[in-house]
């Protein structure tokens, strides 16, 4: 990056700033419906940003179209609200051209998994260093309430008055099938957990895919209340942590034990099982990640929430840059005069 690099270098290196969450609030009015889960996601992201130690002018948020995709307007960073479904592809271009930037993608279940599904899975397989936040509200919010590829079978919406007949995607499974190197899930109504997961995603090198259960209180109210509300949450969610056994329940009285490849709920109090029998989470275990992802399709099991998978593998943008550097090392910086005149030429006097 000749010229751009120069311009960037010319900026006197700023002393590291101590940010607060407020520094990440833009001057734009936030225009989601009152009560929308998107507010919490915004707040948590703004809270996590200061902890990353990265100047905000080095951050770019890219989004597609949807309520969720309004996200970049509200972040006091560089922001790019693009077209429906294309955020991962645009972000890929940004990141390849500018590996020095931290690039985030904000997308919805429609934006990311319906029209944008292909770009999403290709980003995952390439393992380009993007942090993808998928706001899953199991509905199309912005277009006022059609079902989405994550809506449950039988869902009655504006476009499916007789109930939908599509089997939904499991976003964790889709991203794992595409070999994402970081896959996680968190909840709009659990600020602390969300902060933790977002921070982990930010720190991961390579594509980070984060599914966030997000309540659309206007068109799909309560879709995730089982997993987010006090009364039911403890019994229906298992918070997974690397190296820890999978315990859950109001009184930490239940656990998950493997029966073949399938987790089974066991009681830790009736004497049939102890903590030592439980699955111990291992973020690096590919097969375990599939088992965890699959659990979302099995209603008798709690929903796993947390970092499901996190491994290192080569990053696309780094490989691209390395090829460039090694070409320059081998051949020297490109010389246009030489290029035009190389090979077979002849001279007319």
């Amino acid at each position: 990056m000749n010229l751009v690099e120069d311009a960037l270098k010319a900026i006197a290196e700023q002393p590291p700033v101590k940010y607060s969450a407020k520094d990440f609030q833009s001057d734009q009015d936030v225009r989601w419906c009152p009560g929308c889960g998107d507010y919490s996601i915004l707040a948590q992201v703004q809270r996590v940003m200061p902890e990353l130690g990265i100047p905000r002018h080095k951050m770019v948020f890219v989004s597609g179209i949807g309520c969720s995709s309004r996200f970049p307007y509200y972040m006091n960073t560089y922001g790019f609200h693009s077209i429906h479904g294309r955020a991962p592809a645009i972000a890929t271009g940004v990141k390849i051209a500018r590996p020095d930037l931290m690039v985030w993608v904000a997308t919805g279940d429609g934006d990311g998994l319906s029209i944008g599904g292909n770009h999403l899975i290709h980003a995952c397989r390439r393992n380009i260093d993007l942090n993808i936040l998928l706001f899953n509200n199991q509905i199309y919010g912005l277009t006022k309430g059609q079902y989405s590829p994550t809506s449950e079978f039988g869902k009655v919406t504006k476009s499916t008055p007789y109930g939908s007949v599509d089997h939904p995607f499991n976003p964790l499974l889709v991203s794992l099938g595409a070999e994402a190197s970081f896959v996680a899930r968190t909840l709009d109504r659990d600020p602390k957990h969300m902060q933790f997961v977002i921070k982990r995603a930010a720190e991961h090198r390579g594509t980070s895919f984060v599914e966030i259960y997000q309540n659309c209180n206007v068109f799909n109210d309560g879709a995730f209340f089982t997993y987010t509300e006090k009364e039911s949450k403890d019994d229906h969610v298992v918070f997974i942590e690397h190296g820890k056994p999978m315990v859950f329940g109001k009184n930490k009285d239940k656990g998950l034990k493997l029966d073949g490849f399938t987790p089974k709920v066991v009681s830790l109090t009736d004497g049939t099982a102890s903590v030592n029998d439980l699955i111990v989470h291992n973020e690096k275990d590919t097969m375990l990640s599939f088992i965890l992802a699959r659990m979302s399709s099995l209603p008798e099991l709690p929903r796993p929430v947390g970092v499901v998978y996190a491994v290192d593998r080569p990053r696309y943008e780094v490989e691209v840059s390395n090829q460039i550097l090694s070409a320059i090392q081998k051949k020297g910086e490109g010389n246009l005069e030489k290029l035009l005149n190389h090979g077979e030429t002849w001279t007319i006097q």
């Binding site: 751009v4 645009i90 271009g93 002849w346």
Partner: protein, 617 residues
């Protein structure tokens, strides 16, 4: 035996054979040697649509045509003087492009029963009277090649692979070309395999000697050097030239080149070429589809690189939505469309000019994009460079239109000194004080390019309508109208920054032939021919399709008739009519083939004939 040596102004030769017969290599060698002799020339390969068609079939024929001369050469030639046919299929497919009285050099050994049958010949045309209107020379090329190599102990397969150079040797003799350049090429190409150097050299010389000694050729020909501008030349195809023009734009603007693209015929070679030049910091990204190709390029431009995307018709259609995004964002972007036969998948390996309307109008909303086109293979260098200049200076996507004919065609190119290319100066925003993402340069109306990474310039852009100056989302009615007209005005204003249209010929008269893009050579030849006949005919080739050049309307008004030849159903014609309210006469060809100059000449004659003038009045 001394043979007659005749002088010719120009000659067109077509080498034709099976895909596996090496006709492209043969043609390229003849081209190199001819270029070194100082002839002007133009070439066109003609590949089969199939990757590797079965030997001997009609659809598997591969051809290479070269037109060279001591005069200015503008096209690969309407009609051939010589056809080298390695098998019956090659003869059958190409005979219709041979002039009456033209020379056929046929490889008799290739005309065996199997091949004759595959080509659908009931009897051997070399032996019946069907070719009597041509000068037929049937030569046992295969056998003569075998003879030349008999003592080397090579495999049959290898021997067979040399036979094209026997044909080349004959042609070198016939047109008095030296063997050395090709022999030198053998030495470089087969440096690791001296046996092959030896074999190919022997065969080439054998072909030459055969011409010299055999009785069958009565005459040989000389084609004197053309009076080309002095300087250093190279041969270049349209796709190479486009790739290099893009690199030149990157070098001259100091911006890294990012190509986000998806392979498609006939545009893929630009990707192939650019991917070789990583030491120019060129990043090529083979995306999952055309949409990711263009959107990743938009992302790269947003990041401060110069984003480029290359494609052909169907891919262009897929990029429509994202082009609109680039328009409303106002980011620099170069979109290269190497046009091919349509609609839909159409004729993927053939040429056409039918994407002009799509380039100008093919997006939702009022979405103006500048469009430039190249006129010859080498001109693709300047077309691509110019597209980049405009894109960066005006912060706008620009469409560069090439076509299959230009892309694969080659011509000698007088290599420009790098210093002769204008510098391109991107205007980056750097000062956070008074920074507004949609403020504008007074002259160009361009907005500042505020790339991520600059403290204090944090801002947000997107596909929704934005407020003048601030760039904030705005639903305000008057602002929308203002911005729609502003984006249009910015594109219109480019007309002040491009050279005026120039006419070849008289500034007024009976007929002005107006073409655009790749029809340049055919029109130029036709108009030159008519002018030599004393006809009042001029030529104007449009390279700037949007905006049009400012003097264009005034020029058109100076002629009684405006003839618009296009490889489509009249797309430029429609634009000229609506823009200038002048009647146009159309000449349309939609055959996947370039114009022959004779077709244009005929049309000019028709217009000039009294009856037609009468009809019009």
């Amino acid at each position: 035996m001394t043979k007659e040596l005749k002088n010719l102004d120009d000659v067109t030769i077509r080498f034709a054979g099976d895909s596996g017969d090496g006709m492209q290599l043969t043609g390229m060698q003849f081209t190199s040697t001819t270029a070194l002799l100082g002839n002007d020339l133009s070439t066109l390969p003609d590949y089969p649509a199939e990757i590797r068609a079965p030997a001997g079939t009609l659809f598997g024929v591969s051809g290479f045509q070269i037109h060279f001369g001591s005069t200015e050469i503008n096209t690969p030639g309407d009609i051939c003087d010589v056809l080298v046919a390695m098998n019956p299929a090659a003869l059958k497919v190409n005979l219709r492009s041979l002039s009456d009285g033209g020379i056929i050099i046929a490889n008799r050994d290739g005309f065996n029963d199997k091949n004759l049958k595959l080509a659908g010949y009931a009897s051997n045309p070399l032996d019946d009277e069907s070719l009597s209107k041509y000068h037929l020379h049937s030569v046992d090329i295969t056998k003569l090649t075998q003879n030349a190599l008999s003592d080397m102990g090579l495999s049959n397969k290898l021997v067979d692979r040399c036979k094209n150079f026997f044909a080349l040797g004959m042609m070198y003799w016939m047109y008095t070309r030296p063997l050395e350049p090709t022999i030198k090429w053998f030495q470089e190409k087969f440096a690791k395999n001296p046996e092959l150097i030896d074999a190919n050299t022997r065969v080439l010389k054998a072909g030459y000697a055969f011409g010299e000694t055999t009785e069958i050729f009565a005459a040989r020909y000389e084609v004197k050097p053309a009076s080309l501008k002095p300087g250093r030349y190279r041969s270049i195809t349209g796709n190479e030239a486009a790739a290099w023009g893009l690199i030149a734009g990157s070098v001259k603007s100091g911006l890294d080149l990012f190509l986000g693209t998806y392979p498609i015929t006939p545009a893929s070679d630009i990707l192939h070429e650019l991917s070789k030049h990583k030491n120019f910091r060129v990043k090529t990204f083979q995306a999952e589809d055309e949409i990711a190709g263009i959107t990743s390029s938009i992302g790269a431009s947003y990041g401060g690189a110069i984003g480029v995307t290359t494609t052909s018709g169907p891919g262009m259609a897929l990029k429509s939505e994202a082009m609109g995004l680039a328009v409303i964002l106002e980011v620099p972007l170069v979109i290269v469309n190497v046009q091919r036969g349509g609609p839909s998948t159409g004729l993927p390996t053939k040429t056409e000019q039918a994407d002009l309307s799509q380039a100008i109008f093919g997006r939702n909303g009022e979405s103006p994009i500048p469009v430039v086109a190249a006129t010859t293979p080498a001109d693709c260098f300047f077309g691509a460079f110019e597209a980049m200049r405009i894109a960066i200076k005006y912060m706008t996507p620009v469409i560069f239109l090439s076509d299959g004919y230009l892309a694969n065609g080659a011509e000698p190119w007088l290599i420009p000194p790098v210093s002769s290319l204008p510098d391109i100066a991107p205007k980056f925003a750097t000062d956070p004080n008074e920074f507004f993402p949609y403020s504008r340069d007074e002259k160009t109306l361009a907005r500042p390019w505020a790339i991520p990474g600059i403290p204090g310039l944090e801002h947000r852009i997107g596909g929704l309508e934005k407020e003048h100056i601030t760039g904030n989302v705005s639903y305000d009615p008057e602002n929308h109208e203002f911005m729609v007209r502003m984006r249009q005005a910015k594109v219109d204003r480019i007309a002040d920054d491009i050279p005026p249209a120039e006419v070849d010929g008289d500034p007024n008269g009976d007929v002005l032939v107006v073409g655009w893009g790749g029809t340049y050579g055919a029109i130029r030849s036709a108009v030159e021919a008519k002018r030599r006949e004393g006809k009042s005919v001029s030529h104007l080739q449009i390279k700037y399709l949007n905006p049009l050049q400012k003097n264009l309307g005034a020029i058109l008004a100076n002629y009684r008739h405006v003839l618009v030849p296009e490889l489509n159903l009249g797309q430029l014609s429609r634009i000229l009519r609506s823009e200038y309210l002048i009647p146009t006469i159309q000449l349309n060809k939609i055959q996947g083939l370039p114009f022959k100059s004779s077709e244009i000449e005929e049309k000019i004659d028709e217009i000039l004939s009294r009856e037609y003038a009468h009809e019009l009045s």
